[in-house]
């Protein structure tokens, strides 16, 4: 019923507009959104040809934030690449950290200790929640609703506080290591995190209440930015944007990594693949992430958080300070980097916006021979021009938000 009413409302208006335009042909207006424009987070330039307010053609240009990530990685040791990955998706850097560490571990053929896997899951899900909250807030902001945006930011900052306690920095986390994580959970952190999740849930419900049933918001998002399932797959969509079209593909479920197969969580799916579905889906994923974190905190085992292999991970400080073997292993790791056997690996994890892939090639040296990051936002952004074609200029904004492209990873 809903779709029918929506169709009956929006379609005739557009058809009327189009028929009038055919009678009165006018010259299209080229409008340049970005690279510096309030709605283009990151720096993306969209050159749109407008007919009235209807976009006839949108050409997306990227590259204004290009920092040479892949080339930089080729000139750093395997361990040194880690802080660079923070700067890919700067909203959920921990997921990048995890992805990178797992890619190198895949090449090494090792598994990190169980406790470290749990910590990675917890940290990653906290980061995913921060990512989704940012997107929900930003979408609301750019539709004009400022209060939900700041509620989202508040919730995100609470999560960032926990991340700060865990990693020592809000965004530039550099938390994982090859073979584990940098440090164990701080004392009392798990209880604090549980308290934070309660508060975050409150704010999330407030955002949800303010927006998801509000007709203004529904009108703006439902039926706009639609992409069909076939098109979404064709454009290489993954993550929430693909799931919003109804494809049940989540790397955490389809190819379980870390300890994701031990948790009871569901993958929400949309039906229409429009902005509204993407919004609701992320709200639901926030709830699922919360479930995963709570389960992981309950199951959290004891044990080491990094492999006890001095060829890969730094020796314990006590050994470095006190024994000659420790110092030697330490020096060798720092000076040459961990020696990764030659080969290549493509490791894919579920990032904030989809499949985050690292394709790495090693030639046996201490530095990566080639690093390629498969940014989840890259295919999403490449489809933007296709999605918004024929829609109004104002629809470009929620669409741009709901695909949640992050400049740092797309433009490397």
């Amino acid at each position: 019923m809903l779709e029918q009413t929506m169709a009956s409302e929006s379609a005739p208006a557009e058809q009327d507009a189009l028929s009038v335009e055919q009678e009165l042909p006018t010259e299209p207006m080229t409008i340049n959104l970005g690279p510096s424009h309030p709605a283009t987070h990151g720096t993306v330039r969209i050159v749109a040809e407008l007919d009235g307010e209807i976009i006839q053609k949108a050409d997306v240009e990227i590259g204004y934030l290009h920092r040479g990530f892949e080339k930089s990685c080729e000139n750093a040791t395997w361990a040194q690449v880690l802080p660079y990955t923070d700067r890919l998706n700067y909203v959920s850097p921990l997921l990048n950290n995890v992805g990178w560490a797992m890619a190198v571990e895949k090449l090494l053929g090792i598994q990190d200790p169980e406790r470290s896997q749990y910590i990675r899951v917890i940290a990653g899900e906290v980061s995913r929640m921060a990512d989704h909250l940012t997107m929900l807030g930003a979408m609301s902001l750019e539709l004009g609703g400022f209060a939900p945006f700041l509620y989202g930011m508040e919730a995100r900052e609470l999560l960032y506080d926990r991340i700060t306690e865990l990693c020592g920095a809000r965004v530039t986390t550099a938390y994982t290591r090859i073979g584990g994580v940098a440090n164990d959970l701080p004392p009392g952190w798990t209880d604090k995190l549980k308290g934070t999740l309660v508060k975050v849930a409150e704010l999330r419900e407030e955002m949800d209440k303010l927006l998801s049933k509000n007709r203004i918001f529904i009108d703006r998002t439902r039926g706009t930015g639609v992409i069909t399932r076939e098109d979404a797959l064709d454009f290489g969509f993954t993550g929430p944007c693909l799931r919003a079209t109804g494809v049940d593909y989540d790397v955490r479920k389809a190819h379980p990594y870390l300890v994701y197969d031990r948790f009871d969580f569901t993958v929400p799916l949309g039906t229409r693949g429009d902005n509204y579905d993407r919004f609701l889906l992320r709200v639901e994923e926030l709830r699922q992430s919360e479930r995963i974190i709570l389960q992981a905190l309950d199951q959290l085992p004891d044990g080491p958080v990094i492999v006890d292999d001095w060829r890969i991970a730094l020796p314990p400080k006590a050994q470095v300070y006190g024994s000659i073997e420790g110092v030697m292993a330490h020096f060798k790791l720092i000076m040459q980097g961990p020696q990764i056997p030659p080969g290549e690996a493509y490791q894919y994890t579920e990032g904030g916006n989809g499949e985050l892939g690292f394709y790495i090639v090693s030639n046996g040296q201490g530095k990566p021979y080639r690093v390629h990051v498969r940014a989840p936002g890259f295919p999403l952004l490449s489809a933007l021009g296709h999605i918004v074609q024929g829609h109004m200029l104002a629809d470009l904004i929620p669409t741009f938000d709901s695909i949640n492209m992050i400049g740092g990873e797309v433009e490397q």
Binding site: I31, N214, L269, V305, P316
Partner: protein, 496 residues
Amino acid sequence: MSSTMSHPQNQAMEPVGIGAGALTGHDVHREAPKGPQGLPPSNFYAPFRPKEIAGAVALIGYLVVLCAVWAAMMIFGDWAIVGLFRVLGASLPAAELWGNAIANILFVVLAFVMLLATLLTMGERKWSAFIQDRIGPNRARLPGLKNHAFWGIPHILADVGKMMTKEEVVPAMGNQTLFHLAPAIAFAPAVILFAVIPLSPDFTLWGEHLHIGVAPHLNQGLLYIFAIASIGVLGTSLGGWASNNKYGLLGAMRASAQMISYEVTLGLTLVGLMLIFGTLRLDSMMSQQTGHLFGFLPNWGVFYQPLAIVAYFAAASAEIKRAPFDLPEGDSEIVGYFIEYSGLKFGIYMIGEFVEVVVFAGLFTTLFFGGYHLPWGEGWLAGHLGPTWLAGLQVLTFLAKTVFFCWLSLAVRWTYPRFRYDQVMNLGWKLLLPASIANVALTGVVILAGGMHGAAIMGIVELVILLAWVVGAVGVRRSGKETLLPTESAAASEHG
């Protein structure tokens, strides 16, 4: 072992030793930081010092003197003017109203509208901050009162200083004349709109017949409002067009389309009110809104025309480009029709918007909420206070109501997302316009059949239905709990 190691102080400082069980190096800096941290002694909430109290007293005294000048001008102004004209050898028709008129122009416009609008610029920032769990502006300080933020009010001075000293950029390819003229065209109608709104009834003070309000006795009061309000669109669209900016042009297009469309609804929503009160004069409407309906309900427009209120609120918000209808600004899509404006010209656009908010709130108060009338106890007060003091109280009542509706307008602005261009048109032409026409027809029929009493009954029935609609909806369901329905994955993948 060395002597340093056995020193108790050093042992306390020793963070990590052998056998600390550390596996990685990172817990080396797990030690509590020793740097300057925590809460430093704050003077942020310090009590007032004598010097500051003196400053505050001076400020309040200044305001009191200002009010005294106002009163004096109202009362003695026409003596002075008549005397002046006598000295000049001329005579003046209707001499007794001149002082009152000049005082009203100066003080109603400058001291009431502009002051309220100026405070609203800060109110918007501060109130939105409270809505969004922030503190809001609190940095600017008055000289001599450095320890107190005064709820951010000194930021107004800072803002004005900033606006006046900023570089003004004029687009080279724009139409220079219209570019400079447009802010004034947008601003002037907003200010003079307030002229017909009465702030108090006529009262007598020391033999002088006075009223507060520039021209509340205008016969064509409501028509004046429609006429002047429609001029405002010129300033907006000219400003957007003359800047030679595509964003500005889009904003101007949206503004003109939207404002012209909503003129119609705006007029029609008030027709019902005209039918009920049988007049266009605002002061006459005001004086009819005394007394009580059924003995307890204030005899306000809201109880006659609840449907019109909703439509009027929406139409007026669209007319002044506020709240969910701010798409001519649409700061995240197109930056707005004033995109090329900077400095004081931008400031004039901005303050013009707040003036419009004040006017809108004033009109809302006047038409639907009894204007300066207190809801209850007015007769008792008139008996005990005398009409003069009651008039003063009524001015304060008007102020309070106006501020409340300003707040409502701002709260709406910070709560809802923005419409889309075509949706605004749909709402205006397909929902609000038919609704207001139906309202006019219904009101007319009811008045023919039942007179004022019938109109009141109709209004109250409408109001009860509306309230039941809203109250029955609020708080019953929690949207968060119900969005999930577990299904089979096979069923889920059927869609698409």
